[in-house]
Each structure stands twice: as C-alpha cells, then as structure tokens.
C-alpha cells in the first residue's frame, strides 16, 4: 500500500523547507523527504534545522523515480516504499562539479563542499593541512568553516582571474549576507586567497601527499578540497518527464514544470543560492496548494534575488586551461575506472556509455557527466530509470 499525501516535497534544503512551510498553511497532508539524515540541505547541514510543524518528514529516504504518474518509488533507510501524491514539488538542489586531473582519485582529494560536509559529519580536521581550490564563493565559505574548526588552511586557490573576482566583489554590497560574510573573512584567510591559480595534479602513495599548482609550485598537504562550481540536480525531474534545458528544469512564474501537478524550486531551476531557493520554495508551496495570491506577492523578491547568480556565473566561468589537465591515462569515470584515452574516439555520451561503460556505475554519470561535458563537449541526454540503483544493495552493484 502506498503512503498517501496531498503534497510531496523532495529535498529538505532551503527550497524544500520553504515549500513545506508554505504548503502546510493550506494542507494537512504534506510529506517532506530527504536522503540526508537531517533537514537543511547543503548550506544548513548539521545546524539542527527542524521541519515546519504539521509536516510529516521522512529522512534517510531517497526518491528513486516514478512508478507511474502520481506514484513515486523510494528507498526508506533500506526499505522500499511507494508514495502517492496529488502535487509534487521537486527541491533536489545541486551538487558540485568535479573536474578530473591526474591524481584526483587519490583518497583525501575531495570536493570543496564535500570536505566541509564530512567535517560537519564528524571528520576530525584539527591541525590538518588543507588546500581549498576550484572556483566560486563556496571556496571561501568552506575555507572559513574549516579554519574555524582549526584546520590549517595553506591556500585558497581560485581559478578565475583577479580582475573578474574584483569586479564581482565590488558589487558585494548587494549580495546575500552569507556571501558578504565569506568575502569579509578577515586577515587570516585573505592572506591565503590567490586568484588565477589551480591544481594541476595530485600525488601520493595510496593517499594524497602533495599537489602541483599551475604556478609550478609544489605543496604538501593532508586534504585537497576542490570544487568547480555547482550542477543542478535535474535527474529526478527528467525522469518524471519535465522539460530540461541546458541542465536546468524549466518552470513558469509559479514554479510549475512542464508536467501536470509537478513544481520545482531552488537550484534545479538554475544555480541561484540559498536566498533565491527559499523564495522559489515558498512560491512553489503556495502555488501547489492553490494560494496564487501569496505566491504572486513574492515575484518581485524573486526577481531581485536572481540578479546575483547571473553575475556570479560570468565572474567564475571556467578557464580553458582546465580542459588540458587530464592525461590519456587519467580516470574520468570513477565508478567504472574509464580513462580519458578510452573516451576521445567517441563523439556522443551514448556511444561512450555503450563502448566504455562511462557513466554506467552507481553514480549514474553524476560525477563524470558534467566532467565529460566540460572536457569533450557532449552532455548526458537525460537520466535513465531507476534514478539510483534501487536499495543500492540489490541491483548491479553486487557484481563488484
């Protein structure tokens, strides 16, 4: 028997929580689902956020995909579950973009937000030598957080050129408060911040020991925390048949997707940061429960909040040199250990999957897809069901 709800919200980050608190004003049957063990999404991870009162919340629950219209399949802490909905709000957020370079598969080379998430999850970082690298304001947020936890931040390497970062920071007075905070990080971090610099390779015997930087400097470190911007999690929307353009879920002014009864809010509709995610979430929550008046009253706020991501996009676009870091032997698909040289003779993502198994492992191309798109210019054509290997233990994984 499926569990029955009027409004189901997938993702309990800023967008999903905002959607839930708006929806619960009119509906008594709201379900909020998240794969994480606690609500909060990426930015509020580990901050003890509570779901709004009156909202049923399922944590450690991963939505795998649709069984048929109005019915979702999920993995609830290892147990299969079916969830039926009248209205569905997708607030699945974003993930980091990882770019391959020689040595990026060594243990202790992690995402920028990835290392932060693990430290929030109890990873001991005190006294560890950390290099934070990649691009975007997230690097500073991560470095500031790790420094507060007594990590030794050796360097924050931003690939974007200095002039572009300066132009961006000159406009900080109208940026969201969180970001302004990150950029006014105090002398300690400012001294470690370098623009126009990026990691070229990572070295070590079985784990990270040292990195080589684009200025030919070598640096010994315990962790490389490295992310190249964010990628919308639009796979679930794609599986549900919502139209996607350049990786982003298309929505109208009420955050409605091209599919009947499905709304989308937050990062999947385009990377916009927490402030915009919250506004979009509330609009979706109101719109899905028929409160068009409250939804409409937020349109101006949404417009104001969406100026900032556009500026961020142009400031932190990826430089072409990053395409030339890979060697023929560099692993691109970490799940199936597919090397760069195996991919270059194919021109479509489909051919790569068929001939090399690139993107066929448990991450289903979430890591290598955006990397291949950046390196070779061909993008995954959409997710294949099920969204994740169902209950991970049951499907293909067993062969490994």
């Amino acid at each position: 028997m499926p569990a029955n709800f009027e409004v189901v919200i997938v993702g309990a980050g800023p967008a999903g929580l905002a959607a839930a608190s708006a929806a619960v004003e009119r509906s008594r049957r709201v379900l909020l689902i998240d794969d994480n063990p606690a609500p909060g999404g990426q930015i509020w991870r580990g901050e003890g956020r509570q779901p709004p009162r009156g909202v049923e919340t399922w944590l450690e629950t991963q939505v795998l995909g649709p069984l048929r219209p109005g019915l979702l399949m999920a993995d609830r802490a290892g147990v299969p579950a079916q969830i039926s909905y009248e209205k569905l709000i997708l607030a699945t957020g974003a993930r980091e973009r990882f770019l391959p370079f020689p040595g990026w598969t060594l243990p202790s080379v992690m995402g920028a937000g990835g290392l932060q998430a693990l430290v929030k999850g109890g990873l001991a970082i005190e006294g560890k030598r950390v290099v934070v690298a990649g691009t975007g304001p997230l690097l500073l947020a991560v470095a500031a957080y790790l420094a507060k936890r007594n990590a030794r931040i050796l360097l924050v390497a931003e690939q974007a050129p200095r002039q572009r970062v300066l132009r961006f920071t000159a406009n900080l007075w109208r940026q969201p408060a969180k970001l302004a905070q990150a950029f006014s990080m105090g002398r300690y971090l400012a001294l470690k911040y370098r623009t126009g610099l990026w990691p070229v390779s990572a070295h070590g015997n079985g784990k990270l020991e040292e990195i080589l930087l684009s200025n030919s400097r070598r640096l010994a470190c315990d962790y490389l925390s490295c992310g190249f911007g964010l990628v919308p999690n639009s796979e679930l929307a794609a599986l549900l048949g919502c139209r996607i353009a350049t990786g982003e879920v298309l929505v109208d002014e009420f955050q409605r997707t091209t599919r009947e009864r499905i709304w989308c809010a937050g990062e999947p509709t385009g990377i916009g940061g927490a402030e915009l995610s919250i506004i979009e979430g509330r609009i979706a929550g109101y719109a899905a429960t028929g409160d068009r008046h409250s939804a409409t009253s937020l349109f101006t706020a949404r417009m104001r909040a969406s100026r900032f991501p556009r500026e961020m996009d142009s400031a932190f676009s990826l430089r072409p040199e990053l395409r030339r870091l890979v060697h023929p032997g560099t692993i691109i698909c970490r799940c199936e250990d597919v090397r760069f040289s195996q991919l270059t003779s194919h021109t479509t993502w489909r051919a790569m999957k068929l001939h090399t198994r690139c993107g066929m492992g448990p991450c289903q191309g979430r890591v290598c897809g955006p990397a291949v798109e950046f390196l070779l210019g061909c993008a995954p054509e959409g997710a294949r069901p099920p969204l994740y290997p169902a209950t991970v233990s049951q499907l293909a994984l067993d062969r490994q």
């Binding site: 980091e96 109890g122 890591v367």
Partner: protein, 80 residues
C-alpha cells in the same frame, strides 16, 4: 559517545557523526577499492558519488557519508 567497530577496530565518536568519519578515525584513508583495484575515499560528502561505500552490519554498498553512526555498528571496508 557512540561506539562502533571498523574492520573489528573499536572507535567512538559523537552522536550525529557519519560512518565515513568513523572510518577515517579508525586510521583508514580509503573506503573501497575501485574496479581496477585503486584505493578510493569519499569525494562528494553528500551521497552522490558512491566512493565512500562500505558494508554496514552485513549490508554491502552503503554510502557511509549519509549514514549516522549508531551504537554497536559493525563496519567493514573492502579496502581495509
């Protein structure tokens, strides 16, 4: 404090920590071996990449970055 074992070795860490942190605390950098036998550790920290997977209480292929530590858990890694 939550007490659990990683490849038989006892570790304890605060409630609210994730299993990936327990594996690191036990002294391991890698959580698994790749298809070609390379050591791999957590990458994304948020349940996307599957690099952190290990066996928890007999259940293989669990994403250790997403699972909170629980009293008496038995964790084993194939890269251990």
């Amino acid at each position: 404090m939550i007490r659990l074992r990683v490849n038989g070795k006892p570790v304890s860490l605060p409630e609210g920590s994730v299993v990936a942190a327990a594996i690191a605390l036990s002294g391991l950098d890698a959580t698994r071996s790749s298809v070609r036998g390379e050591p791999r550790g957590p990458l994304c920290g948020m349940g996307i990449c599957f690099e952190c997977r290990a066996t928890i209480d007999g259940q293989p292929h669990q994403r250790t970055c997403q699972i909170p530590v629980r009293q008496g858990m038995e964790v084993s890694t194939d890269a251990g």
